[in-house]
Structures are given as structure tokens and as C-alpha cells.
């Protein structure tokens, strides 16, 4: 408010930017109702002055000083400067931005649950342990795996756990020559990055014209040095990897293991079990398939599941049921475990949200997820093709997502996938994922999810049509988008050059 000078307030102005909280700060303003009261009379011995002076802070602390109202107002106003599932259609490919049921949040945040200490003895947390145990069991069933650990805190950490288990497996057999992990060139960046963190060198295998792994190239690559192959299926290209059985017949006999990146599990939940496709170990992204919130970037949860061969290497801790009592398995119970991934038991509250979601869906609900995610995606794909868009894989069925390429449009009009994405914001729609996978030029990876209604899909199609039209008739409007957001197109090059990463008082 304070920052809108009369001149700025012309007709039709957009939601104005919000100043930094530091710029609202005034010395001595603070949310005093939140301050801990000093004890009536602390004997000198108890006071901070009893601490060695050289250990104390002398430097000012550049935290804002604002009233509770001003803080609340600031962050409320900031929140309004976000697109989100709760306010906008958000077809961000690979991210499964489905509805996050509100009950999952409120039930995971029941006051008694929030008060539970992570090191409280098991006797004091049986109710919570029961939830996690049941979640483990459900995940075993949907993955077709023999064991599950809920420890990983996101997909990438799940990948780390899985690939570390592959490493541990080969090591346990004395098979130390297996130094390579193979990933498709279309793989998500976390796959190669994970393999590297686990000490493997990474080989990329090519994709064929239909979006499948090039089997010839794969055959040529696999050998005694192969520790394993990481695969997303349906792949990041939005198609089901049809040759998965062939791939299995190439990798396993050569002594390699198969890792399933479960980021796209939403597409096949209840349809196909990775364990039955031949995968040895996998992770799930609960913040995708099980609808826990994305929270502006997290937290997620990336449970890892493994078949009989690999389960003994699962990360700690794991919950087990011992008669009517639930308890944690620890280092002594699972001596072959790859170990701990966090100080406590992972993103416990996220797991509770996923548990509530899973129980609400139940058996039948889970099977419907893939059905309708796929129906929505195929409908959009077909309608966009009719509207004149080019599909990356026009011969294929969409899985839960699909790719449109704007390469031709770019050549004709100069409008890029980035421009197109920014213009969608003006239509009140979050842009799909762009420029991923890197393989397809000027691509939009579009994932509607099963929770969107046909009405919303139709509105999206209309917007896409409208922008296509604009691109052809008034390209400048698209190239200078967005026009209706609090800020216009932002300069990323300047950001990287200036490296203005923290605010400093001038």
C-alpha cells in the first residue's frame, strides 16, 4: 500500500509488488505478545551473563521488527502473489499438481500429533506408528515390492537411497567392478545427479523416435561394469516404455539391477506394479502420487521400496508390528541397512498426510487415479492437436502427461515456449513444464491430473487456442507477456550476475 504513489495508480493497475519485510521494519516494533516473559527474578547465576562473554553475540541481528499485524499482513499479501492449485489450474508436467485434500492437512496437524517428540519412546506414540506401518503396507501392495522404508524426504533422496542400496548389494556380493549407472537421455536431472552422489559414473542411453529407450544402444552399453539402470515409466516423455520387458531381459542377465523412478507413478497406480515389471528398487514421490502438498517447493516424501533381494539394505528407520505393539527397526535390527538419511524419521507429517489420502482413496480409489489422470491427459492431447498444436509423439497414447512442441510456431512467429508459458499466466493458468525433457525442442510438458474437471480442461484448451491465435496475429503481445502479474518478465541474467541473495541495510 505504502508503495503506490499516485502516479503509479493508473486505471487498471495490477496487484502491486509488496515491499520487503525489512523495509517495513522499525526499531522496537515487534510482536510482543509472542515474546517469552522474563522470569520474575532470575538469580544472576541463571542469566545469560553467566555465559562466557566471548561466546555471546555482539553483532546486530538484521531481523525485521514489525508488529504482529504488519507481519501477518505482509505474508498474507505475499501469498496472494502466488499461483497455486487452490487458486489456478496448474498443469506442470512431471509434478502431478493434483488437489491436496484439506483433511489431509488438518488431520496431520492435530495438536496432539504436532506435539509428539521424535525421540519420544514408542509407547508414547503407538497411534502414529500404526499409521506409518499401515502406509508401509499399502505402499508394498501398490508397488509389488517386499519392503518399504518411509525415511527419504523427497524423490531425490529416495533415489539416493535406492541407488545406494544397489551399490550395497553389489558390494555385499564382492562385485566391486560395477561402477556405472545407465540413465536414459530423457531422464530427470536427479537421476544422473544421484548416481554421481552414490559414486557411480553415469552413462546416458539414447531415446528412439517413438520415445522408447533405444534397445540397440542399451545392449551395447550394458556389461559387467553395469551396476544398474534408472528408468521412469511412463517416461518423462509422457509415454509408457513399451519395451520394459526387453530392457529387463538385457539388464538383469548382465548382472545389473533396475531402479524405478516413481515420479510418474500416478500414471500407473493400480494398473501396473513396478515390482512386477521387473524393477528391483524404486522410490515414490508422495507429494505427487499421494497428493501431499508441494508447499512452494516442498516438503515432499520419497519412500523407497525394494524386492526381496534388496530389502535388507533399506534405509532406517522402518516401522514394524510386533503383536499389538509397533516399534522402530534400528541399526541392530537391520545391520545391512545403508543407514540413516536424516536426524529422525524423515518427513513424518508428510507421511501422515499421505496416509490419510491413501485411506480415503482406498483400493478402488487408487485404481481410479491412473484411469482419470490418463483420460484427462489423452483428452487434452487430442484436443490440442485438433487446435493445431504439434505433439512430440503423435503416434503414441499419452500417459498422465504429454508433450507439445512449439518448434514450428517459433520458426513461423518467433514465439517461444517461454513466451507461450508467460502468456498463459495472463489467462490465469500456471504454465506447463517447459524445456524439459531437454530432448524435445520448445516443449511444453502438460499434466492435467485426475482431479481437474472437463470444464477446466476446456478452459485450458480455449486459452491455448487463444494464444496460438495471438502468436500469429500479434506476436509482440505474447513475447512481452506476462502483463497481468505483479511483476512483468524478470531478468534472470541480471539476477545471476548481481548475485543479490540477501538483503542488506543500505
Amino acid at each position: 500500500m505504502s508503495d503506490r504513489t499516485p502516479a503509479q495508480i493508473a486505471a487498471g493497475s495490477r496487484l502491486p509488488p509488496e515491499p520487503l519485510i525489512f523495509e517495513r521494519s522499525q526499531r522496537g516494533h515487534g510482536a510482543q505478545a509472542q515474546f517469552a516473559a522474563a522470569p520474575a527474578a532470575a538469580p544472576a547465576a541463571r542469566r545469560a551473563s553467566a555465559l562466557p562473554k566471548q561466546l555471546l553475540r555482539e553483532q546486530a541481528l538484521a531481523l525485521p521488527e514489525v508488529s504482529e499485524l504488519d507481519a501477518l499482513r505482509h505474508y498474507t499479501r505475499l501469498s496472494q502473489r502466488n499461483f497455486s492449485i487452490d487458486t489456478h489450474f496448474y498443469p506442470l508436467g512431471s509434478c502431478t499438481m493434483k488437489y491436496n485434500p484439506r483433511a489431509c492437512n488438518s488431520l496431520a496437524m492435530l495438536p496432539q500429533l504436532l506435539a509428539q517428540h521424535p525421540l519420544a519412546p514408542e509407547q508414547a506414540r503407538q497411534g502414529t506408528l500404526a499409521c506409518w506401518h499401515e502406509l508401509q503396507e499399502m505402499l508394498k501392495e501398490v508397488t509389488g515390492m517386499a519392503g518399504v522404508s518411509l525415511a527419504p524426504m523427497a524423490g531425490a533422496q529416495g533415489e539416493f537411497a535406492g541407488v545406494a542400496m544397489i551399490r550395497a548389494y553389489h558390494r555385499a556380493r564382492g562385485d566391486t567392478a560395477r561402477t556405472e549407472i545407465i540413465v536414459p537421455d530423457a531422464a530427470h536431472g536427479t537421476n544422473p545427479a544421484t548416481a554421481a552422489m552414490c559414486g557411480f559414473s553415469v552413462r546416458e542411453v539414447a531415446t528412439d523416435a517413438q520415445g522408447n529407450v533405444d534397445l540397440g544402444a542399451l545392449r551395447a552399453m550394458v556389461g559387467p561394469q553395469t551396476a544398474g539402470l534408472m528408468l521412469t515409466n511412463p517416461s518423462t516423455l509422457g509415454v509408457f516404455e513399451r519395451s520394459i520387458q526387453d530392457i529387463e531381459r538385457i539388464v538383469h542377465p548382465a548382472g545389473g539391477l533396475l531402479y524405478y523412478d516413481g515420479a510418474n507413478f500416478n500414471a500407473i497406480l493400480g494398473k501396473v506394479k513396478p515390482g512386477e515389471m521387473g524393477f528391483d528398487v524404486m522410490h515414490m514421490n508422495l507429494h505427487k502420487t499421494f497428493s501431499t502438498p508441494h508447499g512452494g517447493g516442498g516438503p515432499g516424501a520419497g519412500p523407497v521400496a525394494a524386492n526381496e533381494r534388496l530389502r535388507k539394505f533399506l534405509p532406517l528407520p522402518v516401522v514394524m508390528q510386533d503383536h499389538l505393539h509397533y516399534r522402530w527397526l534400528n541399526e541392530r535390527d537391520l545391520p545391512d541397512s545403508i543407514g540413516r538419511l536424516s536426524a529422525f524419521a524423515g518427513n513424518a507429517g508428510v507421511l501422515l498426510r499421505a496416509y490419510v489420502y491413501a485411506r480415503m482413496l482406498g483400493r478402488a480409489g487408487m485404481q481410479r487415479v491412473a484411469d482419470f489422470a490418463t483420460l484427462n491427459a489423452n483428452y487434452l492431447m487430442v484436443e490440442l492437436r485438433k487446435a493445431g498444436f504439434d505433439l512430440a509423439f503423435p503416434e503414441r497414447r499419452a500417459s498422465h502427461e504429454f508433450i507439445v512442441t512449439l518448434q514450428r510456431l517459433k520458426e513461423e512467429t518467433g514465439v517461444t515456449a517461454l513466451d507461450f508459458a508467460k502468456r498463459l499466466l495472463d489467462y490465469g493458468i500456471h504454465a506447463p513444464t517447459i524445456y524439459f525433457p531437454l530432448l524435445v525442442k520448445e516443449c511444453l510438458l502438460i499434466e492435467p491430473t485426475e482431479t481437474e474437471s472437463n470444464q477446466t480442461l476446456d478452459a485450458f484448451i480455449a486459452a491455448m487456442r487463444g494464444i496460438l491465435d495471438e502468436a500469429r496475429t500479434q506476436a509482440e503481445l505474447v513475447k512481452s507477456a506476462p502483463h497481468s502479474t505483479p511483476v512483468r518478465r524478470l531478468d534472470e541474467v541480471k539476477a545471476a550476475r548481481d548475485m543479490n541473495l540477501v538483503w542488506r541495510r543500505e
Binding site: Q34, A50, L55, L56, E58, L61, L63, A71, Y75, T76, L78, N82, M109, L110, A115, H117, P118, L119, A120, Q126, T128, A130, M153, A154, G155, A156, H188, G199, F200, V239, F240, I244, G270, G295, G296, G297, G298, P299, G300, E331, R340, S342, A343, F344, G349, A358, R359, G365, F372, T374, N378, K422, L425, E450, S453, P482, V487, D491, K494, W503
Partner: protein, 463 residues
């Protein structure tokens, strides 16, 4: 169908548009042999009313305890506003701000967070979060070794005064990187890392320095930093961020002694407005000196300007990250702990320097009061003499049985250290934050006394 709006009519018209006979046909590319029959072991669905009742009953089933557990996760007062704002749909249901113009709420919040946490640690820059404190330390060690370069020694000193779970996590994370982790011991009397023992080690890439350490004891961070810098080793500080309202920031450690402060600082962000909630979601933070920023893992937000010259915020320095650099990235991290960071930012904005100082101070004072009170109990003895922040180690006869007795009185009396530090004998780690009042401390002492010396009781605690 829960969460799926489609009616049969919708389905039919969509299938007609697609030109498919049924939904199953959309899955025709999946080899028939792979298709799953059923999910027998998944129970039938429940409506929201029934799951709400189940969760409420489970949440209530274990009852409420008066909590004196700390050990890396701390009960602090959290203003009601914090999570009421953080769980607003616009924060809760957005994702990584790839479309900056549609995500200024999240981006500016993260920029503010980076600024606040950098100020707390006294370092130049910060990232937008890692998973938790323990994994952040793992990342910091990997980063330090990268900074030192391929030719430098891959050897890191890890004090035994560090949280045992942090040490375990580090082990898992660096396992495949050919890094040698050397544990260094502590002085039995003070509970501090033994500086003289460090001298046994040469060619060190980095030294990890916890403050306060796992025992609640304050380390001589200036001396440790100076020792490391004298040997060209990087210093990785592991700090409780709330304590930094009171304690010297890592960026200033050892500066009087000519050292240049810690190089990297990580820690668990939970004390900043994140509820205990069984251990997560919390968040790890990482700050470092500006010159190290290109080796830092995790997302970073930077300020820039828009086409009209207005200030705005974007994800920046992405060339470090997996989606650009793939196997050469500084880490594989992608999804982080954004929502918890949002809450922490609001928490810090509400408390400010004064409020956080008050919380830290009151926690410190409460521990002192507790120690004074229980020291009077026969058989209870403080183990370490060093100055402590808000937790401390006590020796007492039969730690396990005593804790069980307290539990029967609905008190979580502390952590039994036996499994972690057998060398300390029967010992517990006990914590008091600003949430405890004089009455609570008295109750603790009273029940502890009863447990140790009271009339023989039956063990009334639940199975």
C-alpha cells in the same frame, strides 16, 4: 468418486473426442502381462468423516506428556499466526517457483528467509533449504571437499560431541565419495571437544564444529576455528539457529584470534517455528561465504528487476543444480522443505531479534533453574562442567527405569544416552525451553525424586 469429478457422461464425451472405446484402451500400450489384477491388501476407501474420527482417536490415544526431551528437536512456542498463514492455499499448494512472475509470494518469502538466516549465522549467503539439519551437514561436507578441490586431502574431522544421528547420516551420505571421516573425542570433564587431540590429525579438508554440541555444552568455537584455519581446513559450523540470537554467529568465530569465521554453517531449522511433529517436516539450512556460493547445493533466490524496472525475485545460480548440470550438479536435491521455511520466515518476522533473544534467554534460564533444582536430589549429578545452552547431561542411577517411571507420571524426562555414549554410564540428556514454567520444573524435580527415592510403585506406564 473422491477427488475425481467425472460423471459417466463426461467420460463418454471425452472418450468420444479421443476416439477410444473405453478408458482401458488408453492403456493399450502396456503389455498385457504386466497389468495388475488387484490391490487386495489396500483397505476399502473411507470418507472424510470416518478418517477424521480414526485420526482423532489415534492422536488422542497416546495422551499428552510434559516434555523435557530435546536432543535435536525442541519444543518452542509457535505463534498461532505462523501456520495459519503458511497453510494458506497459495503457499501450501504451489510448487517450486519455476514461473517467477506467478510465484513472487514464494520467491520473496525465500529471499527474506535467506536474508534472515544469513544474518543469524553472520555469513554472506544462504540457500533456500535442504532436507534437515543432518543431511545439510552431509551436503556441507561434500561441498567442503569440492571446494578444496581434487588434489586436496579428503579427510574431515567430526567431533563425537555432534548428534549421533547426524554422524550416522553423514556416514550414509559420504560413504561412496571416498571421504575419510575421523571422529574426535571430548574432554570428560567439560563435555567439550578436545582441542589437543585434534593435533594428532594432519591434512584435513574440513572440521565440523557444533554449537551448542549434542550435550548442550558450548564449545570453544574460537579456538576450534583458529585451529582449523591455521591448517587451511574449512570450518563447518552446525548450529541451533535460535541460539544465535544469543550466541556469537559462526561468521565471527575465531575472528579475534585471526581466523576468518566459519566458512559454511548448517543446522536444523526446526526451532524457528516448526512443530515437533514426530521429527518432520523440518528443514536444514546452509549459509556460506560468498566465494563458496557456486559450490553450494540447493535452490537459491536472487533479486532482479522486471521489464519495467520493478524489483522482483527469481531462482538463480541454477547452473549448480541437477536439472541443468545433471551428474555434475552440486547435489541431487530437487524438492526441498519450502513450506517449513515459509513458516520459519514468518516466525522470525514475528519474533524479530528481541523475541528470539527472549526465547533463547528464557530457555537458558529454565535449564539453569532445572539443574539447580535437580542437583539437590540425591544421586543426580550434572556430568559436564562447561556452560550449557538449553540442555544438559545428568548422571543418575538406572536411567531407563527412571525415565519409565517419569513416563508413568506423563513426563518425558529426557533421552537415555546409554545406547549412544556408553562411556557416560547411566546418563540422560534433559532439556528445558521457554515453554516450561516454574511449576513444570518443580513437577519434574518432584517426580524425579519420587522415581529415585519414592515409595515403591508399580510401573503404571502403558505397555
Amino acid at each position: 468418486m473422491p477427488f475425481i469429478p467425472h460423471t459417466q457422461e463426461d467420460i463418454d464425451s471425452m472418450l468420444a473426442a479421443i476416439g477410444a472405446a473405453g478408458i482401458d484402451q488408453l492403456f493399450e500400450e502396456i503389455p498385457a502381462a504386466l497389468k495388475t489384477g488387484s490391490l487386495e491388501r489396500v483397505p476399502a476407501g473411507m470418507n472424510e468423516m470416518d478418517i477424521a474420527r480414526l485420526m482423532t482417536e489415534r492422536a488422542e490415544s497416546d495422551g499428552r506428556y510434559l516434555n523435557f526431551l530435546g536432543a535435536g528437536a525442541y519444543e518452542h512456542h509457535i505463534p498461532a499466526a505462523v501456520w495459519q498463514i503458511a497453510t494458506r492455499g497459495e503457499f501450501y499448494s504451489a510448487y517450486t517457483p519455476y514461473q517467477a512472475e506467478a510465484s513472487q509470494g514464494t520467491l520473496q518469502t525465500l529471499y527474506e528467509f535467506q536474508s534472515m538466516i544469513a544474518s543469524l549465522t553472520g555469513l554472506d549467503v544462504a540457500n533456500a533449504s535442504l532436507y534437515d539439519g543432518a543431511s545439510a551437514l552431509g551436503e556441507a561436507i561434500l561441498m567442503a571437499v569440492r571446494v578444496k578441490g581434487d588434489k586436496a586431502p579428503r579427510r574431515v574431522l567430526l567431533p563425537r560431541t555432534l548428534h549421533p544421528h547426524y554422524r550416522a547420516t553423514v556416514k550414509t551420505m559420504v560413504e561412496a565419495q571416498n571421504i575419510e571421516i575421523i571422529e574426535v573425542g571430548f574432554e570428560r570433564a567439560s563435555g567439550r571437544t578436545e582441542i589437543t587431540a585434534l593435533d594428532a590429525h594432519q591434512n584435513i579438508a574440513a572440521v565440523v564444529v557444533p554449537q551448542p554440541n549434542f550435550f548442550g555444552v558450548l564449545e570453544d568455537v574460537d579456538a576450534l576455528t583458529a585451529w582449523a584455519h591455521d591448517r587451511a581446513a574449512l570450518v563447518i559450523a552446525v548450529v541451533n539457529p535460535l541460539s544465535l540470537a544469543l550466541l556469537k554467529p559462526p561468521g565471527r568465530w575465531g575472528t579475534e584470534k585471526g581466523a576468518a569465521g566459519a566458512d559454511i554453517s548448517v543446522g536444523e531449522g526446526q526451532p524457528l517455528g516448526v512443530p515437533l511433529s514426530n521429527g518432520g517436516p523440518y528443514f536444514g539450512f546452509m549459509c556460506c561465504k560468498k566465494e563458496l556460493v557456486r559450490q553450494m547445493p540447493g535452490r537459491v533466490v536472487g533479486a532482479t528487476t522486471d521489464a519495467e524496472g520493478k524489483r522482483g525475485f527469481v531462482l538463480t545460480l541454477q547452473a549448480r543444480e541437477q536439472h541443468i548440470r545433471r551428474s555434475k550438479a552440486t547435489s541431487n536435491i530437487c524438492t526441498n522443505q519450502g513450506l517449513a521455511v515459509t513458516a520459519a520466515t514468518i516466525y522470525m518476522a514475528m519474533l524479530g531479534a528481541a523475541g528470539m533473544r527472549a526465547a533463547a534467554l528464557r530457555s537458558h534460564e529454565n535449564l539453569q533453574a532445572l539443574l539447580q533444582r535437580v542437583s539437590a536430589i540425591d544421586g543426580v549429578k550434572r556430568v559436564f562442567s562447561g556452560p550449557a545452552f538449553h540442555e544438559a547431561v545428568l548422571n543418575l542411577p538406572a536411567a531407563d527405569a527412571t525415565l519409565a517411571r517419569l513416563r508413568a507420571d506423563r513426563i518425558l524426562g529426557g533421552l537415555n544416552l546409554q545406547p549412544y555414549y556408553p562411556e557416560l554410564g547411566e546418563a540422560i540428556l534433559v532439556c528445558a525451553t521457554e515453554t516450561k514454567n516454574e511449576h513444570d520444573i518443580e513437577r519434574y524435580a518432584h517426580c524425579l525424586n519420587d522415581a529415585l527415592h519414592g515409595v515403591e510403585e508399580t510401573e503404571g506406564h502403558p505397555t
